[in-house]
Symmetry: C2
Subunit: 376 residues, 2 copies
């Protein structure tokens, strides 16, 4: 089965591109934002809500599904698509990020990682081959190599971790069986240009159908993130999709698309939604704030999501203060729409060759990273 | 403004009726089940979900909205319909039931009740006139008299409370201002046929556009509930709708429609949904049970709700065990549909003159109250 990436347009003024990544569950138009369904559900949104919002790709987490309900149970229920009733494309991560986030509950060695479940403390082990079997059982369209995501400024640790990540990428590739799953390699290397360069070189040598950039948006500055994207993206083949893992702030999406990224995922819109915060151009509204107590206007009068077409801030504030599920639902719905629609707008402007002014205009509403004030 | 009750059909074998209650926000076909939106939201369901399910009437709670966000705020936001984006008929209770449920946090006197908020302990007072003003501010189509709902077996207390309830009914009626709101009287009297008879007589003398039966499903047996319905309903005018407050178990709906009830409300379907329990013919499925861990079948293969058309028990169990909001949503959706659809089926069979066999067949799946085993 082929996972063709159709490159439809390149922005003449930046490295931005628009394309289509073809998967067994349909095409993914890029740039694209994928909301996260950690436990086989995007929190507070149903599959029909997601389809209504124009979601084209979902991410789900192997670590969580492996622990509960178990990847073999998901397989026996017909795979993740059928289990969660989402017939569109799905991407699963390898579980590495969650395992390495467990801190003292895990131990890494050259062969993999041993860890304790955050649910019941039971002992588990992930190796490259094991996470491939788990992801086969889940059955996503796009699957990820096991990688290690270290603190980005620790040079010595990044060198050790990167060597492991490369060996694991080779082992994942060798162990990859299902032709209906595209296995992506993950570029690591912290904030170190030479490590990032080496990683991109090594992984492109393995010829993956797509490449992820990991280890960013994990504590480094925006300038450092942009610098790493500037190093890595020109080294990746134009003919393959590029996926920036875990990034979801609107200004980060625009800055990354400018640098050549195609795919994003993040828990941000749903996490903010459950906390009563709504994404708007230039920032966020904290709907719990007393200033909205009597405000009948929608989150964003320009937005045409269900929430903005029907509900005022005073009502959403009431729901948030009352901790009502409908508040989580309605604000998450708006936030996911906000990012899905941003990706759609970027795509349209790239296709129309107007992305440079679009990006300049969009970013003008956001504070600039300190060292980029002069260039923008 | 007139609130006409159109009586379309009477069942030849019971007191069951089918009709239409006309309100300023549209017709309510009866029998009807109204889900409860305590805090101006039916928990975990959006207004478009409710419309999809065929919901024709919503109930909301004056006590809760008075305390948060405040009835005046709701009025200033355009009233409850606009605030919560539900354009169909709404019924509000008077708040009395919640106040009298507060136990030691409230004191009742002949003029009303003083109570402490369950949210912040602040002191408040409800009188008949006050609850009319609150319900005017909220702006529901159907509003309720202030009544006292005592423990049903305490004869002495029921006598005192009933006298107050009747005075308050007169005061509510005298204080009723908005012609676009129908004020219903509430028959009380515990499990005592003579008190119920007196209450029905007194209230029908005040000529309300509809009558509620309160003080049932609050601790008495099913036999006692049925006996009180058998006493009260023949005393209420045929030309007015009858509303049995707080009743939502499927077998109770059928038994009450057999006895002449038109309108029901209950938190049951959404509360069960949040606890992982699904209504099915004859009982409930506890979806947290291990027996459903690998079960791919829907809650009910015959049901055509969104949940049953797309999701299996194994998935719903996973959501319930993971405490995922989508689990609350999907199971609540099924449960509300179950009761709305039951009311719709009862209505159709009354109109088709086939209600007696429908009810017999339906109730056969449920255990009978002890003293009714012979008669059914």
């Amino acid at each position: 089965m082929s996972f063709e990436f159709e490159l439809l347009a390149r922005d003449p003024n930046s490295r931005a591109r628009a394309g289509i990544f073809h998967t067994p569950h349909g095409p993914v138009p890029t740039p694209v934002f994928a909301p996260v369904g950690t436990a086989a559900t995007v929190k507070a949104l149903s599959p029909r809500d997601l389809a209504d919002l124009g979601v084209k790709l979902l991410l789900s987490n192997s670590y969580h599904l492996y622990l509960r309900p178990g990847d073999e149970l998901v397989r026996d229920q017909g795979g993740l698509h059928r289990f969660m009733a989402w017939d569109g494309p799905i991407l699963t991560d390898s579980g590495g990020f969650q395992v390495f986030s467990l801190g003292e509950s895990r131990q890494v060695d050259a062969d993999g990682a041993t860890f304790r479940s955050h649910i019941d403390g039971s002992l588990h082990r992930f190796t490259p081959e094991r996470v491939m079997r788990i992801q086969e059982n889940l059955g996503a369209d796009i699957v990820m190599c096991l990688d290690e995501c270290p603190e980005p400024h620790d040079r010595a640790y990044n060198e050790v971790a990167l060597a492991r990540t490369h060996v694991w990428a080779e082992r994942c590739r060798a162990s990859h069986l299902r032709p209906d799953q595209a296995l992506f390699g993950i570029v690591q290397g912290g904030i170190f240009p030479d490590l990032r360069t080496a990683s991109a070189g090594f992984l492109t040598g393995l010829d993956f159908p797509g490449y992820a950039i990991g280890g960013l948006s994990v504590g480094e500055s925006k300038e450092e993130m942009h610098a790493m994207l500037d190093v890595v993206l020109p080294l990746l083949p134009e003919t393959k999709p590029r996926y920036l893992m875990g990034v979801g702030a609107p200004e980060d999406l625009v800055n990354a698309v400018l640098r050549g990224v195609d795919i994003f995922d993040c828990v941000l819109p749903t996490r903010l939604g459950r906390n009563g915060a709504a994404l708007v151009r230039g920032g966020r509204l904290n709907l719990r704030n007393a200033r909205y107590a009597q405000d009948p206007s929608p989150i964003d009068p320009q937005c045409d999501c269900y929430t903005c077409r029907h509900f005022g801030r005073a009502y959403l504030r009431h729901l948030a203060l009352s901790n009502e599920i409908l508040g989580h639902h309605l604000i998450s719905l708006h936030n996911v729409y906000f990012l899905v629609d941003l990706a759609r707008q970027m795509r349209a402007s790239i296709l129309a060759r107007t992305f440079a002014p679009f990006a300049t205009d969009y970013l003008a509403a956001y504070p600039l990273p300190a060292n980029e004030r002069d260039v923008a």
